[in-house]
């Protein structure tokens, strides 16, 4: 895959690095008990979120999983709003009602943050249905892990999207483990593209550790979807370097396996490519790191200084504030 023009090439590195450094900070803040609940880190998979977002425009929609910090950052939700959410502050993107697993931002058409495996797929189908019925040529991207393909909602949604030829781009992040269960231990057919193809959905695998390959595949898929060709399924082969959550002792995989995958670290590999192409030198890399560190420190300070919602507001947002309409 050839490199894009220098500005864009550097931006891809910057976006991946932001996610990596942001989540390293999250892990640190979790250890310091500033962040609680579940925290699922995306480290190792950054090329997928960053690459896919390159194919989207402002009007497109995104439905993501509970491992969605990377998608949220790559979509343009500020590190401040995301970190404040993890701190449970009203300044958080979900006012502290959602936490790490439920990041929402309607202004960026970011529809979560869904913590039920497979539960986001029907919603993505519905968003796409609305676009179709309203005559809008928008794409809805739906991220989910390979664990979701065992859920009925995956199969129901693939069928419905294909049957109605809806503009959904299904992005399966195959990191090989559904929590601790390896794909081969849960699926009789481990080729995920075959499952999608059985619904007459064009499907192909992509190297999820190569941001350029991801961006290229997503661009081609989004073009087809936007053009009215119905849904497309992409399987991104990737790996999570960290534990499933902060409670996971990783008994189900070997250190060797993790180390082997780290040899294919998407940020390291892509950084080396930029250096080889003469687009990045040591000083520039250091400047980039400094800039990102500054952004993250600022986000942490913002979250730290954020406010707690008054307990009197506890029951807000159960129903809309608008008074009931009496005809």
């Amino acid at each position: 895959m050839t490199l894009p023009p220098p500005d864009e090439a550097l931006r891809l590195l910057r976006e991946m690095l932001r996610i990596r450094r942001f989540e390293e900070k999250c892990a640190e803040l979790y250890a310091a008990e500033k962040i609680r609940g579940f925290l699922h880190l995306y480290i190792g998979e950054e090329a997928v979120a960053v690459g896919v977002m390159q194919a989207l425009v402002a009007d497109d929609a995104i439905v993501a999983t509970y491992r969605e910090h990377g998608h949220a950052l790559a979509r343009g939700i500020s590190a401040r709003a995301i970190l404040a959410e993890m701190y449970g502050r009203v300044e958080g993107c979900s006012r502290g009602r959602g936490g790490s697993m439920h990041i929402f931002d309607t202004a960026r058409r970011f529809y979560g943050g869904n913590a039920i495996v497979g539960g986001g797929l029907p919603i993505a189908v519905g968003l796409a249905l609305a676009d179709r019925m309203r005559g809008l040529s928008r794409v809805t991207v739906c991220f989910f892990g390979e664990g979701a393909v065992a859920e009925g909602e995956f199969h129901e949604s693939m069928n419905l999207a294909a049957l109605w030829q809806l503009p959904v781009l299904f992005c399966c992040e195959n990191n090989l483990y559904a929590m601790g269960t390896a794909l081969a231990r849960s699926e009789s057919e481990t080729d995920l593209c075959i499952k999608a193809a059985s619904y007459e959905i064009p499907a192909w695998p992509v190297d999820g550790m190569d941001v350029l390959a991801v961006a290229d595949a997503a661009r081609r898929a989004a073009l087809a979807v936007r053009g009215g060709g119905g849904p497309v399924f992409l399987e991104f082969r990737t790996y999570r370097f960290r534990a499933h959550s902060m409670y996971d002792p990783q008994l189900y995989r070997s250190k060797d396996e993790v180390e082997q995958w780290k040899q294919r670290d998407p940020i390291v590999l892509y950084g080396e490519r930029l250096v080889a192409a003469g687009l990045l030198d040591a000083d520039e890399r250091e400047a980039l790191e400094r800039e990102i560190a500054g952004e993250i420190d600022d986000a942490a300070a913002f979250a730290e200084a954020g406010h707690l919602e008054p307990v009197e507001q506890l029951e807000r947002f159960v129903y809309s504030d608008a008074p009931p309409r009496v005809p």
Binding site: G96, R97, F104, A130, N159, F317
Partner: protein
Amino acid sequence: MSEPQRSDAPARIRQSYRDALREAHRDALRRDERVFLMGEDVGRYGGCFAVSRGLLDEFGPERIRDTPLSESAFVGAGIGAALGGMRPIVEIMTVNFSLLALDQIVNNAATLLHMSGGQLAVPLVIRMTTGAGRQLAAQHSHSLEGWYAHIPGIKVLAPATLEDARGMLWTALEDPDPVLIFEHGSLYGVEGELAADAGAVPIDRAAVRRAGRDVSLFAYGGTLGKALAAADALATEGVEAEVIDLRTLRPLDTATILASVTRTHRAVVVDEGWRSGSLAAEVIARIVEGAFYELDAPPARVCSAEVPMPYAKHLEDAALPQAPRIVDAVRRLLGGGA
């Protein structure tokens, strides 16, 4: 009894509950191009209870949308379409089938507004058939609306009258939040008179269907008719029962419930759900919390027997609340014995 029709009285038409529902759909589909109906067999088949018969011809397959047997996907698609600017009506054949979509209803429709800090309202209406009485046995007959009424974030309606069958849908569609409408299967064929210009009705309050001073009977949906029949029978014994139609099961109209008990000082709750953990239990809890010192007798309830609904007619009849059982419960309350 019959008075000469006054010339300025609004015209009345004879209609079934099913027809009233269909008119409500037709009206909504005409009024708002964002409204569409989707579900199993709503189009070519005409709806499994014929509610949507004829709508496909009038509004076309985009707006009267047949779905595969994928409750979770099409309910979830309804949520997504609502988020995407449409006003979907999703029909689920029976409440038992809705269990296949519980993830979408409980984990998504009910939570998205809250989890998103107020950003994602879900203006979705889900209709389904509920209840027994048609010998459909234990997978088509249950009354689980009380379960749904447990869930914050959704509203739960139970139209028992023609006016409500005609009028609740539009108000529900205007609501910014998800609304579940439970239609009792025994009501579709019930006919009656309805104002020709009947329209939207409020969905935030209970209604007094019969005034009385001796006892309050609380009912909804399929049990309203039985409560009214019991009240007729009691009237022949000189007992004046007030019959309250709860109409909206969540949020409950506690004020109307307590006001009635304050008038009558006795309460019987009729609920086709099972007794344990039932909506009837919630109504009685509210009465005890809010009007304990008004009571002249312990509140009573007439619920379904705690068995999966049997097929054989005599067993099904015995399992369900019936007017004679309601009458007996009132007599016991009044000290007359059974």
